[in-house]
């Protein structure tokens, strides 16, 4: 994982747009290098089957034989694999930035995909390493998805960026006679389908809880929540992913006054 630090010292490259570049220069932040962190790995083929029940459902049929009544649970292995991949890629990107003597990485973009099949994961993080000439070396390189005037606004508001963050939770719904009865309409109208409600709630609350654990003492802002559902034969998954920027509030008062309502004459 040796970063490419070769090149002329006064030549920079960056992923900044022109307005973001102008804003960075105005903030006395000099772009240094487009830094990147990769992780490509294999997810254990057992991960998808490693779910464990969080809630079991009562039998909703009259069958006396042994049968599945259904449950909703979590698939921690799968989530750990993706979050670990993200963290590794992030660490590598920050390491690259630290090697260049940068103070932070702005405009961090995250790409996640399955490079080969469902049992593989690839995470690619990239952003622009920046340094503030004359400032002392940082103890830790910070990172943020923001850049340009949005970053300036963040600091003006009283926050400093800490790190980009990613959390995720997968809920596994194993259908049984309960789901078959309440989810197929045989029960009639107006019954709560608990397995579906619980699967959606578990995925969302799990991802939010992980994010809250990350944000102890800091705050997670600009969160984007993505929910993905995969239905299979007898088993379905609901995955909730959160991405955002961890920021710390270092000033209590906020400078913004009451908003002024304006009418723009631009088309």
């Amino acid at each position: 994982m040796t970063p490419d630090t070769a090149g002329a010292p006064n030549i920079f490259d960056s992923g900044l747009t022109t307005p973001d570049f102008a804003a960075c220069i105005s903030m006395n932040l000099q772009p240094v290098r487009l830094v990147q962190g990769y992780y490509c790995g294999q997810i254990s083929s057992w991960s998808a089957y490693s779910g464990y029940p969080v809630r079991n459902y009562p039998c909703a049929c009259a069958e006396m034989d042994m049968h599945t009544t259904g449950w909703v649970g979590r698939v921690d292995d799968l989530d750990r694999a993706w979050m670990g991949a993200h963290q590794t890629a992030l660490d590598r990107m920050l390491q690259e930035a630290a090697t260049l003597g940068a103070h932070g990485v702005v405009g961090v973009t995250t790409e996640m995909s399955h490079p080969t099949n469902a049992n593989s994961c690839e995470v690619h993080l990239y952003g622009t390493a920046v340094l503030s000439p004359g400032a002392r070396a940082p103890q830790q390189v910070w990172s943020t998805q923001l850049a340009g005037h949005k970053l300036a606004k963040l600091v003006e508001t009283g926050y400093v960026p800490s790190s980009v963050a990613y959390s995720r939770c997968t809920a596994m719904l194993v259908e049984g006679c309960n789901m078959e009865y309440y989810g197929s309409g045989r029960c009639g109208t107006g019954y709560i389908i608990n397995p579906i409600q619980d699967a959606h709630s578990l995925a969302r609350s799990g991802a939010i809880e992980v994010a809250r654990q990350m944000s102890q003492g800091v705050s997670l802002y600009g969160v984007s929540m993505e929910v993905h559902e995969t239905e299979g034969r007898g088993t379905s998954y609901v995955t909730c992913s959160l991405r955002g920027s961890l920021v710390r509030r270092v000033r209590a008062t906020l400078p913004l006054g009451p908003p002024v309502t304006t009418v723009s004459l631009a088309s």
């Binding site: 903030m27 009639g188 959160l242």
Partner: protein, 292 residues
């Protein structure tokens, strides 16, 4: 006081010196956090957070509510009139989701939720509604005071953006609740004779047009009734969904939802509009062909 704090101390809104920000950011990791300011999650943009602060609110946490309600088998077969089961299931799913999000608002010591995203899923046997947004609470200044003085009897739910909330509250109006009307109406079959006779003609399918009107009437009436129930005097930003049901094309679905609002200030406050003419538009380029 740390270097970052010193830098921040001089960064008032009116006198912000962008040149200082780099130094502040460079050593910002060393600055101490403000006590009690952590542990928040928000899906709002920075602009929205600033606007909320300007009206005395701050984000607390991403909250959600889920409702999944069963629909009786067989209600989608061709018939006439309203599909009452589908309507009941949708409204029950919505109220279950609202109840869930209200519980989370209570748990996070917030007073309401803004920017609610509404997801609606309908399948032959279930109606699912998911609400997601950011809960908000009155922000406190250094003296512990707050300038958000509205007292809600129960948490408000609104799908208006934080910007809309700020504009609305500045004018003296406040959101109360998310309300919705829903109707599922069968488009009756044409007669065999009419169907064959019209096969080679361009004609209006009046059965579908009438079904859509019936559905609209029922849904709008229900939504207006709900506005009254929650104590509102109007509704903003109504979203309309009208379409044939994907798995039962002879059924017309009409959903309408939005945020019920009410003026809580003594009188409507007319915003003092300032006209702005941006001069950073894209430069019009010279086109030689215009001389032709």
């Amino acid at each position: 006081m740390s270097a970052a704090s010193e830098a921040f101390a001089g960064l008032g809104h009116e006198e912000a010196d962008l040149g200082q920000l780099g130094s502040a950011l460079a050593s910002g990791v060393l600055a101490p956090s403000v006590a009690g300011a952590g542990g928040l999650t928000s899906d709002l943009s920075l602009d929205e957070i600033l606007l909320l602060h300007s009206v005395g609110l701050e984000p607390v946490q991403v909250v959600f509510g889920v409702g999944a309600i069963s629909v009786l088998t067989g209600v989608w077969v061709w018939g006439t009139g309203l599909v009452a089961d589908a309507h009941d299931a949708f409204q029950q799913a919505l109220s279950t989701a609202k109840e869930g999000i209200r519980q989370q608002i209570h748990a996070s010591s917030a007073i309401g939720v803004v920017g609610v995203e509404v997801e609606i899923q309908l399948s032959p046997h279930r109606s699912v509604v998911v609400l997601t947004g950011t809960s908000v609470r009155p922000s406190r200044d250094e003296a512990g005071g707050s300038h958000f003085n509205v007292r809600y009897p129960s948490p408000f739910i609104c799908d208006l953006s934080a910007r809309d909330f700020a504009v609305l509250s500045t004018a003296g109006w406040y959101p109360l609740d998310l309300v919705a009307g829903a109707a599922y109406v069968h488009a009756p079959r044409r007669g065999v004779g009419a169907s064959i006779g019209q096969a080679a003609q361009n004609v209006e399918l009046t059965n579908f047009t009438e079904a859509l009107y019936d559905a609209r009437e029922a849904a709008m009436a229900e939504m207006q009734s709900q506005i009254s129930v929650v104590g509102g005097t109007g509704l903003l930003d109504a979203k309309v969904v009208d379409r044939p049901v994907s798995f039962a094309h002879h059924v017309v679905e009409f959903l309408v939802y939005g945020t019920a609002v009410k003026m809580l200030a003594p009188s409507h406050s007319h915003p003092n509009l300032s006209t702005v003419l941006p001069v950073d538009d894209k430069v019009r380029t010279f086109e030689a062909t215009s001389l032709d």
